[in-house]
């Protein structure tokens, strides 16, 4: 008898602990709602209780920034030289020569395919008439990337060589990845003043972590015997590192270079919001503001072309390469020189080659015609999503249901009926033994009734803590609750909830549709053949560009932001779901088949559970992607933390910018840890 007790007790204990975490959350939610009339502070965190954290950060950081400002101004002055040179070189080089050089480089890197890509890409840039803006952007990238590479390699080497600081460095890199891009800019703005140097430095800082990560990873993955062979050859530590270990980590380092380039480009484009530099990002922003969508599409495509060329070119570095005939490269360059000489006098006038100039008009007309004929249905889609999904999620059924949208008014009576029905269902579910599920249903009902943005704060705090407990035990509970409490007392709570609502809605949508697409891609190679290049494409495009199409069809507003977030964040969900399901070990599937399972039984009973940890990692990535896009989407009208960061940038308000950036990073960090916790738990359960 005692034997059965000890066997069954851990299990029943586990069930009750998850259930009791849920029940406590539910209880707190109910108490808050019931007591709201007499104690409104139980729902809405009183402003008087908030600490002026933003102001403190502003003062403290401001003082610090002022202190280092003189040094930084020297740095910025120094950086202006290489930037000026790069700018001059790129702009003064006749375009036929530059195209020839890029084509030749493409040939050397990847043969005909890369050469053609480079030639067509730059030809397109020339054709759009954005040549000089494009060159300005590239100049920034070319100066910031070496800085980022140096910085990243240095950090990676430091973490590798000094094991004591490794964990700290990795934690910092983690945080840097979650801090939203805009948040980098405000302090830099204060340091360097308006101008391209801010974008340059922001992009160097932003692009360094991927390099550092890959350098560290690559070095750690170098075969132990190779390292030992270097030792036994009598190399000094420096020789071992630079002659053997770093080159042996080449592939991973090159992946780092690729990611570094892409991050730098992305940040340079984003930094355009500061303005003051006539680059392509600025052009997109400007034309978007003026609703010249044809122009912004063209400028956006220039960015996309740059991204693709840079990505594919640098991607070849990480592959085992063939060597291509150098004479062809020289020939190409010679052609470029000749063409430059022949067209001398006209080459500086790149505008004359803007053969796609009409295209902008065509796009504008087409969009105009499309919205004119389909405007009603577009509006319907938008309004439907807003009124029936997003708004209720945001402000709750009690406020979102109005006669002019839903046809009736949600009254207290409806609330009563709604809660009574929920209670009945919960009790029934609980009685059938699934107490945890009942608690979750109850919590969801509260969420629906009040809306995410008006959830009682104790309910959110305890709820997140409860999820933390189920996902990773007390330690995680403590961590997430402390982090969340920081946001709560910072006075940014309401905006944080707004951010949570929009990203939550987007992530949920991504999870459902991305999961389904991933499943489809896993079972059908044809589907994957179609979906894969789209995914590749979406992952190459800098965040900024996602705004153009949604804006074109749905104008400024939350729905456009919602769509942009989904378009960007759905990719990892698709990829990981597919990867997880497609890589189920065949012997597992055969074993299932041998027991007589049908295809879909095998899918649901074996493959999906087996893929669960991978899918959860995809979800994790999707969440992080959604958060980073959320901030960019502030440009086209979202409320919440993203908006605060953006406003802070406009007003050079370091305190608000950093506080809101930190709050955003905290939310991302919490989501990350919670999902990782579940993934870890699933992995353990599967014995992986």
């Amino acid at each position: 008898m005692s034997a059965t007790d000890t066997i069954s007790s851990p299990r029943s204990y586990h069930v009750t602990s998850a259930a009791s975490a849920g029940l406590i959350t539910l209880l707190i939610g109910v108490v808050c709602l019931v007591l709201e009339p007499i104690a409104p502070w139980l729902v809405k965190w009183p402003a008087a209780w908030s600490l002026p954290l933003a102001a403190w950060i502003g003062e403290g950081l401001g003082a610090f920034l002022n202190f280092i400002k003189p040094t930084m101004r020297v740095l910025s002055w120094l950086l202006e030289f290489p930037m000026g040179w790069a700018n001059w070189v790129l702009n003064a080089t006749p375009w036929p020569l530059l195209i020839a050089l890029v084509t030749a480089l493409g040939w050397l890197l990847g043969g005909l395919r890369m050469a053609a890509l480079g030639a067509l890409g730059l030809g397109f840039v020339l054709g759009t008439g954005y040549w000089s803006e494009g060159m300005n952007t590239l100049a920034l990238v070319f100066v910031s990337v070496p800085l980022a590479l140096l910085l990243g390699t240095g950090i990676g080497l430091l973490a590798y060589e000094v094991p004591r600081v490794k964990n700290a460095v990795q934690a910092v890199l983690d945080i840097m990845q979650t801090v939203p891009t805009f948040a980098y800019l405000t302090p830099l703005l204060l340091l360097f003043g308006f101008g391209p140097v801010v974008g340059l430095i922001a992009s160097a800082i932003y692009a360094a972590p991927p390099m550092a990560r890959n350098v560290l990873l690559g070095l750690e993955r170098v075969d132990a015997e190779i390292k030992e062979a270097a030792v036994m050859s009598g190399g000094t530590r420096t020789q071992q590192l630079f002659l053997v270990e770093l080159p042996a980590a080449g592939t991973q380092v090159m992946i780092g270079v690729n990611q570094c380039l892409m991050a730098a480009l992305s940040m340079v484009i984003i930094a355009a919001v500061i303005g003051g530099f006539n680059d392509i990002g600025w052009e997109v922003l400007l034309t978007m503001r003026k609703a010249q969508f044809g122009q912004s599409v063209m400028a956006g495509l220039v960015i996309v072309v740059f991204a693709i060329v840079i990505d594919r070119y640098s991607g070849t570095l990480a592959l085992a390469r063939k060597s291509y005939d150098k004479r062809i490269a020289y020939g190409l360059i010679a052609v470029g020189v000749v063409a430059s000489v022949v067209t001398w006098g006209q080459v500086s006038n790149t505008a004359g080659f803007a053969i796609f100039d009409g295209a902008a008009q065509v796009v504008d007309d087409a969009v105009g015609a499309f919205t004119a004929s389909n405007g009603a249905s577009l509006d319907q889609v938008k309004n439907g999503a807003m009124f029936y999904v997003l708004l209720p999620l945001r402000i709750g059924l009690d406020e979102a249901i109005l006669p002019f949208t839903w046809g009736f008014q949600w009254t207290a009576a409806y609330s009563g009926i709604f809660f009574a029905a929920t209670a009945a269902i919960c009790v029934a579910v609980a009685l059938s033994g699934r107490v945890a599920l009942a608690a979750v249903l109850g919590c969801l009902a509260i969420l629906l009734e009040t809306g995410v943005s008006q959830l009682p704060w104790p309910f959110v705090l305890v709820g997140v803590g409860a999820i933390g407990y189920v996902s990773g035990g007390w330690k995680l509970t403590r961590l997430v609750m402390i982090l969340l409490a920081c946001v709560l007392i910072s006075g940014l709570w309401e905006r944080a909830l707004l951010s949570l609502y929009l990203s939550g809605a987007a992530v949920l949508t991504c999870a459902v549709f991305g999961g389904l697409l991933g499943l489809w891609a896993a079972v059908s190679t044809t589907a994957w053949r179609i979906i894969r290049p789209i995914c590749d494409m979406l992952q190459t495009i800098p965040l900024f560009v996602f705004l153009i199409p949604v804006l074109m069809f749905f104008q400024i507003g939350e729905f456009s932001a919602f769509l942009a977030i989904i378009a960007y964040a759905i990719v990892p969900m698709i990829r990981y779901t597919r990867a997880g399901i497609a890589t189920t070990p065949p012997d597992l599937m055969e074993a299932a088949e041998a027991t007589g399972a049908t295809y879909w039984q095998t899918m649901w009973e074996v493959r999906v559970p087996y893929a669960a940890p991978t899918i959860l990692l995809g979800l994790n990535q999707t969440i992080l992607y959604a958060f980073s896009m959320l901030v960019i989407a502030a440009l086209i009208g979202t409320t919440g933390l993203g908006q605060s960061i953006y406003i802070a940038l406009g007003q050079a308000d370091v305190g608000l910018g950093v506080a809101a950036g930190a709050a955003m990073a905290i939310l991302a960090l919490i989501a990350d840890r919670l999902v990782q916790g579940f993934a870890e738990e699933r992995r353990k359960a599967l014995g992986l």
Partner: protein, 359 residues
């Protein structure tokens, strides 16, 4: 080598300055706080087995326990044992790729555990060579650059190191593949590069960690033969790891058998085969035809003067060879020593009994 090796059991086993390698009380314990835990345990003066199990109880891994042995100059010393018995760790301790937790390692009479960083680098450049189980070739360098790498570290001029590298490359039979990259070579070729690289620096002490295990039997045998040829020429002192008894018997002057971190027996191939100290060692040589490793000196009986004619048998002859020579006779056959003096005799029953005992 082999003939010399069979007598090497008579070499003094106490440490002397002349030894190429001498270790004493060498311990390697993995895990947090290993150093203190081991020191504490050793202070109690307990037997090494008890110390090891005490460490194990604390969650530490005593990968090498109290290893004491010495390798004479020019000797080919083989370390054998099952996977995970601590062979690689032992050799990594001797070459100081890992820092031993306790004990002493002398190479050419010099305590290398107290050597400075600079001195270590110097020794690795001039004295020590190592061949790795999975080759450990530098993937980004061509064959010749791999082989010349130790010379480059040593500051040898490009032309000179190229010449020397070409020389050792031809010694291992890889001429013509100098400009190939490791990924373009077969396993056997890669290991030749590994061997060439470790030879480039003219080492006196050569460590080989299962150099042939990753290769198929045919290539393995070929490389073993070439290896013996090279060793014949260079006369370096060698520590050779293997878990293949046939390889050990073929190459070794002496063999050390390791089990769970302990050296359980050190002896000549004959001793290992004929006088295993325990079942673990016996298990290793179970499938080895004993007749090949037993000499007549070990089985003969005193000569009773019956008949000194017949086939000529010598004391150093293996049982197998002797059997082939005198399988037809039922009479006792005389056995002579190196000088041709009759020192004993063998009879068919003796063969039968000896072989039965060995199995």
């Amino acid at each position: 080598m082999k003939a010399f090796g069979n007598q090497s059991s008579t070499l003094p086993s106490t440490s002397s300055v002349a030894d190429a390698i001498a270790t004493s009380g060498l311990w390697q314990v993995f895990g947090a706080g290993a150093q203190e835990a081991l020191a504490e345990q050793l202070k109690t003066g307990a037997a090494s087995g008890d110390v090891a199990s005490a460490l194990q109880d604390r969650g530490l891994i005593p990968a090498v326990q109290d290893a004491t042995f010495n390798v004479a100059p020019g000797e080919l010393f083989v370390i054998m044992g099952l996977s995970g018995s601590g062979k690689s760790t032992l050799v990594r301790c001797i070459s100081r790729l890992v820092e031993p937790t306790a004990g002493e390692v002398m190479i050419g009479g010099e305590n290398i555990l107290t050597a400075s960083k600079k001195r270590m680098i110097e020794m690795r450049r001039n004295t020590l060579g190592m061949v790795f189980q999975h080759f450990g070739l530098f993937p980004h360098m061509s064959v010749i650059d791999n082989v010349a790498f130790p010379l480059k570290m040593n500051g040898v001029k490009p032309a000179a190191r190229k010449a020397r590298a070409a020389e050792v490359i031809s010694m291992v039979g890889l001429e013509g593949r100098e400009d190939a990259f490791p990924r373009e070579l077969s396993g056997g070729q890669r290991q030749r590069v590994g061997i060439a690289r470790s030879l480039a620096g003219n080492c006196d002490v050569w460590f080989l960690d299962e150099p042939f295990s990753a290769l198929d039997p045919l290539i393995r045998r070929q490389l073993q033969d070439e290896f013996l040829n090279i060793q014949e020429k260079l006369k370096t002192s060698i520590v050779f790891i293997t878990h293949d008894i046939a390889e050990a018997l073929k190459l070794a002057d002496r063999i050390a058998i390791m089990r769970d971190g302990r050296i359980v027996q050190i002896g000549t191939p004959t001793e290992i085969v004929l006088n295993p100290v325990d079942d673990y060692v016996r298990e290793f040589s179970r499938d080895i035809p004993k007749g090949r490793h037993m000499t007549l000196a070990e089985v003969m009986e005193p000569f009773d003067g019956a008949d000194a004619t017949g086939p000529t048998l010598s004391t150093a002859m293996s049982l197998e060879a002797a059997l082939a020579d005198c399988a037809m006779t039922l009479d006792p056959v005389a056995v002579r020593d190196g000088d041709g003096k009759v020192v004993g005799q063998v009879r068919p029953e003796i063969f039968a009994k000896a072989l039965a005992r060995a199995e």
